[in-house]
């Protein structure tokens, strides 16, 4: 299917991109991997007048170590993220979740920044960014600002990225030595999550000393499960403890209902998957 007419620009730097964005006004759209934007354009659910392609800015693809953080360029494709040595070593949960996204074709095109900026509550990477307390680097005409994950996700398809702004980098604290698992539940192998749970834990001598639990598709944004985290911390990582902790998974959630899963079933899944995510993580 054919999108409506649009102009296309491919800036060579972030500054140029910001200028192009401001020049184009509110009708502009940024193109990253196009894996979410193009279907929307082709179905004519959106008809921007200008498309600004970030594909001509090589530095946005870089993945690097920056002190106690791993800094990932917004344009780093899923395929790179999940294989990068720094990511697998220090932010293993992100690599694990990214590996469950779609299929190899989509993972070669789709980007970390695009997925997070798109902010589909069924997307897998938001819950990970939230649980791991990532920081979002956003550039606009008035300079660069950094937003915490807790502030980044605002609503369905809505983030803290303002008009005329571009997400350039996502920075993850290092979770070196933590155990983690992303437990995803979907209709078919390559489908989006009906519900998924991201779990990262620090286990010292059999006792859970820190826990981060993120939930996918249990509300209008990715969610943390603080009740589960609190119930785990300080406890031995036994099946019983985990099962009891998982009962808190749906506290504060607002599960959507759709044809694949009504809210009650999603809530049930969230509890079951939380237990499985934690148990798999601790092995």
């Amino acid at each position: 299917m054919i999108p409506s007419k649009f102009d296309y620009v491919k800036p060579a730097s972030v500054d140029e991109a910001v200028r192009a964005l401001v020049d184009a006004g509110e009708d502009a759209k940024i193109l990253a991997g196009g894996q979410s934007l193009l279907p929307v354009l082709r179905l004519r659910l959106a008809a921007p007048s200008v498309i600004i392609d970030l594909g001509g800015i090589p530095e946005l693809r870089s993945i690097s170590e920056d002190g106690d953080r791993i800094a990932i360029g917004a344009m780093a494709p899923h395929h790179d993220v999940m294989r990068d040595g720094l990511v697998t070593q220090h932010v293993a949960l992100l690599a694990q979740a990214t590996a469950t996204v779609a299929d190899p074709q989509v993972r070669h095109r789709g980007t970390l920044g695009g997925a997070l900026a798109h902010a589909d509550p069924a997307g897998d990477l938001g819950a990970v960014a939230l649980a791991l307390e990532a920081e979002f680097v956003i550039v606009g005409t008035s300079g660069t600002r950094t937003v915490t994950a807790a502030d980044f996700f605002v609503d369905y398809f809505t983030t803290a990225i303002g008009e005329g702004e571009i997400l350039t980098q996502v920075r993850f604290p290092k979770y070196t030595g933590w155990v983690s698992h992303y437990e995803k539940f979907n209709r078919t192998a390559q489908a989006w999550s009906m519900c998924a749970v991201a779990a990262a834990l620090k286990v010292d001598g059999g006792t859970i000393s820190e826990a981060r639990i993120g939930l996918t598709n249990m509300g209008t944004t990715p969610l943390r499960a603080p009740g589960v985290e609190a119930a785990l911390v300080g406890q031995a990582a036994t099946a019983e403890v985990v099962r009891a902790a998982a009962e808190h998974a749906t506290e504060g959630t607002a599960a959507p209902s759709d044809a694949d899963a009504a809210a009650d079933y999603r809530e049930h899944l969230a509890r079951v998957l939380t237990g499985r995510a934690v148990l798999t993580a601790v092995g």
Partner: protein, 826 residues
């Protein structure tokens, strides 16, 4: 003389890779949309978003002024208001068949129905302009529930008809004299303490054929003959039906089906867009192309299945089945498709399947609703029937406390009983259910898996194991023309073939079958190579163009080999007979003394002989040939089958069900099919694997969902969940062979077998895994949510209703935000 190689062994039975694949997988194929003609215009259809509404106005003015637009037309503008697309299958003399318009003029009857067309220089301009066509609608209440629609006093899809019931078709074995009275069998069983009566209702959900290449049409009106390229399974039928529909003389129309990327029955119709493209091309005197988008395809191309099945089976407590009564509602959608009303009728003869059932009655009520029409989809009627009887046999086994496989064995036709005339009056020519079942049971380790199942039940494992069985047969190879006549079908069932022996010894085979992914070019070349004793590489198979293949009835119903292939054999026999005469003449021998073997005509008892290529050359030169014949080996044949073909097989599925989440996993699938003699085992395996995937998809993954306004809510591949290879295990497929006795090659059809057989095997397996928890049924598709709710219900835990009117997550197309129902990204 350019003979490539000496044929040494038989081609029949060789697992050759397909000769058509090289072009199909290297981008050298020609699909309809690849055709670009000078000056060609593009057509886009403006479709109704509403399922049921009165059209109160169409404002074309803005669209007409848009860049590149040549015209915007309603039915009236095209003079098409009086044109209705044909239904070729009046299943009863009083069948109600509302005119199926090319474009709706006053009332739209399903969401996706065309209202106007826009024609422009480019497809993009046509699409842009289509958005500017303003159609005003007065919404009407949509009629969506087929069962409610069939009741007296229901609101009507077509008020002129006075009813939503299109036809009621009955087969009664007592009336037909082929069996006993089922009503009597049921009352006898009810009165008999030594009998059981099992009643069940099953639902065949609505499916979307989901062929890979979307539909496309190109019409070139210039030249003496109008040429129509279409992504169709049925170029010959399309030509005839276009004549019937538009009045264009058949002789003035050439239809070409170039490479066609799948159909599964979904391209068996004759569709409004084909006629509209023709009318617009003729009106503008320019070539015109229409290619649908994927969403248009899911919305407006015909759907399949969609039946409610009410079934009653009676049996003696010793397991002997005594009667079967079948009541169907079949949702036709808003109009009748080309063969849509006959789809359930094709199933009517298959509910008794492989079993000896003395009394049988089938009643089907075809109903109109405000939904997309239904028509043939891989198996067409037979998967529905097979599902019903194979599910019922499991239910009966539970009722009687019997092993389901043992119960089947007790009731099936044993191999000594063939040929066997069934309660429907069909004669099954050959089969051996014991052989296929024994092999399948062995490959599957049936006993071992039953033990594992027992153990898991005893331990209360989270993941339970179920064993699903389907011992199916089907009737295919459509079809003996006289039988079709007795069913009031609007055509015969023969197939045509021609063989041309070229001067250089190469062979052209022309078939009326119209392959669209099956591998005809390979299989037919193998057959001809053996028949004529020429190398496989020297045979070219031509098809899909009414100018090259003037006569044919195309490809559906697993007919291409068992009907089309036999026509080719008949034509080859004529070639050999002619060649023999010339050989005798040239070798100065009596025809009776000439033997033909492996391409050589030899004089008995001498070393003297001539190759068929030499004879072909001699016929071409025509310097020296017998007085009493024409100098040509070329031959035609039309073959009308004497019977259907009855492939069968035993399919076994090991299903794992996670009782915590409801997730169903197909762990292992074994099938042993009997498709008679096998021309090419690789092609057979491919057909079985693909067929299994489609049948399993019905059981686990697919359903076209409508909301209460009649909107298709899963109209993209994000929501209409097709499985991929990642969702399926590697299948264990084998075949055994009981050759068909009704054709000279002993072959049976294989195109639909996997789809027909697999669906009940999967669902039986899912229920078998949960039966001990009290679960008695799970509707298709057996999604994790449905399975989980079934478990909760069995435990007496109340759960919430599942809404179907919201989109699933994904790609910004769903995750429905109440404030942003379009899922538009901000």
């Amino acid at each position: 003389m350019t003979t490539t190689a000496e044929p040494t062994t038989l081609e029949f039975g060789k697992a050759r890779t397909r000769k058509e694949d090289a072009r199909l997988i290297t981008g050298r194929s020609r699909y309809t949309d690849s055709i670009t003609l000078p000056g060609m215009l593009h057509l886009v259809v403006v479709r109704s978003p509403l399922a049921h509404a009165t059209i109160t106005g169409v404002d074309k003015s803005a669209a007409e002024k848009a860049p590149g637009v040549f015209g915007v037309y309603t039915a009236a503008d095209l003079g098409a208001e009086g044109i209705g697309l044909p239904c070729a299958w009046p299943i009863t003399p009083d069948q109600k068949a509302p005119p199926r318009p090319l474009l709706a003029s006053t009332t739209v009857s399903f969401a996706g129905e065309g209202v106007a067309v826009v024609v422009a220089r480019t497809a993009g301009e046509a699409k842009d302009a289509a958005e500017l066509v303003e159609v005003d609608y007065d919404p009407l209440d949509p009629i969506l529930d087929m069962e409610a629609a069939a009741q007296d006093g229901a609101a009507l899809v077509h008020p002129d008809l006075g009813t939503n019931v299109s036809a009621t078709w009955v087969f009664d074995s007592a009336a037909a004299g082929t069996g006993d009275d089922v009503a009597a069998a049921i009352s006898a069983a009810e009165a008999d303490a030594d009998s059981v009566v099992v009643r069940r209702r099953f639902r065949q959900q609505r499916l979307i054929p989901a062929f890979m290449e979307p539909r496309s049409v190109v019409v070139d009106p210039n030249g003496e003959q109008v040429t129509m390229w279409s992504s169709t399974q049925v170029p010959h039928i399309l030509r005839t039906m276009t004549t019937v529909t538009t009045g264009i003389p058949e002789s003035k129309l050439r239809v070409i089906a170039p490479d066609v990327g799948g159909g599964f029955g979904g391209k068996i119709g004759v569709v409004p867009e084909e006629m509209l493209t023709l009318l617009v091309a003729q009106k503008l005197h320019k070539p015109v192309k229409w290619t649908e988008t994927r969403s248009e395809s899911l919305l407006a191309a015909h759907h399949g299945r969609d039946q409610i099945q009410d079934l009653t089976i009676t049996a003696k407590k010793d397991g002997t089945v005594t009667g079967l009564d079948v009541h169907l509602y079949a949702d036709m959608g808003a109009y009748l498709g080309l063969v849509g009303p006959g789809v359930p009728v094709l199933g009517a003869f298959m509910f008794n399947a492989i079993y000896k059932i003395p009394a049988y009655k089938f009643t089907c009520t075809n109903v109109f609703t405000n939904k997309t029409l239904t028509d043939a989809y891989r198996g067409a009627g037979r998967p529905e029937a097979t599902f019903a009887i194979e599910r019922l046999m499991d239910e009966l086994a539970v009722e009687l406390g019997r092993d389901p496989l043992e119960l089947r064995k007790q009731n099936w036709i044993s191999h000594e009983e063939f040929p066997y005339t069934t309660v429907c009056g069909l004669t099954y020519d050959s089969g051996n259910y014991e052989q296929a079942t024994d092999r399948a049971v062995e490959l599957f380790d049936y006993a071992g898996l039953r033990r594992e199942q027992e153990e898991r039940r005893r331990n209360g494992d989270k993941v339970q194991l179920g064993i699903g069985i389907s011992t199916f047969t089907e009737m295919c190879g459509l079809a003996p023309s006289r039988v079709l006549g007795s069913l009031a079908y609007g055509a015969g069932g023969w197939e045509a073939a021609s063989i041309r022996m070229l001067a250089t010894g190469k062979v052209e085979v022309i078939t009326g079958a119209s392959g669209h992914g099956q591998g005809h070019e390979t299989a037919f070349s193998q057959i001809v190579a053996d028949q004529l004793g020429v190398p496989f590489e020297d045979v070219e198979v031509l098809h899909g163009d009414t100018q090259i293949s003037p006569k044919g009835l195309d490809t559906y119903g697993s007919r291409s080999l068992v009907v089309g292939g036999i026509a080719i054999v008949k034509a080859a026999e004529k070639v050999v007979a002619k060649a023999k005469k010339i050989a005798a003449h040239l070798l100065e021998a009596s025809e009776d003394d000439i033997e033909f073997n492996a391409g050589q005509f030899t004089v008995k008892g001498t070393g003297q002989g001539k190759a068929i290529q030499e004879i072909a050359f001699a016929a071409f030169m025509a310097h020296d040939y017998p007085e009493d014949m024409e100098p040509s080996l070329d031959s035609d044949a039309v073959y009308d089958p004497e019977n259907f073909s009855f492939p069968h097989g035993t399919h076994l599925a090991a299903m794992e069900v996670d009782t915590e989440t409801g997730r169903v996993t197909l762990r292992h699938y074994v099938c042993v099919d009997d498709v008679g003699n096998v021309v090419n085992p690789l092609i057979v395996e491919g057909q079985v694997h693909g067929g299994l995937a489609q049948g399993i998809a019905q059981a686990l993954f697919e359903e076209a969902n409508y909301d209460d306004q009649g909107t298709l809510v899963n109209g993209t591949f994000v929501d209409y969940t097709l499985p991929s290879a990642a969702d399926l295990p590697s299948f264990t497929t084998e075949h055994v062979s009981t050759p068909a006795t009704s054709n000279p090659l002993g072959v049976k059809g294989v195109g639909e077998a996997g789809t027909i057989a697999s669906t009940p095997a999967i669902v039986n397996g899912v229920i078998d895994a949960l039966r001990h928890l009290g679960v008695k049924n799970v509707e298709m598709p057996c999604t994790s949510q449905r399975v989980w709710r079934a478990i909760q219900d069995a435990r007496g835990t109340a759960t919430q209703e599942t809404p179907v009117d919201t989109h699933s997550p994904g790609a910004g197309l769903g995750s429905i935000d109440p404030n942003n129902p379009q899922g538009e990204i901000q």
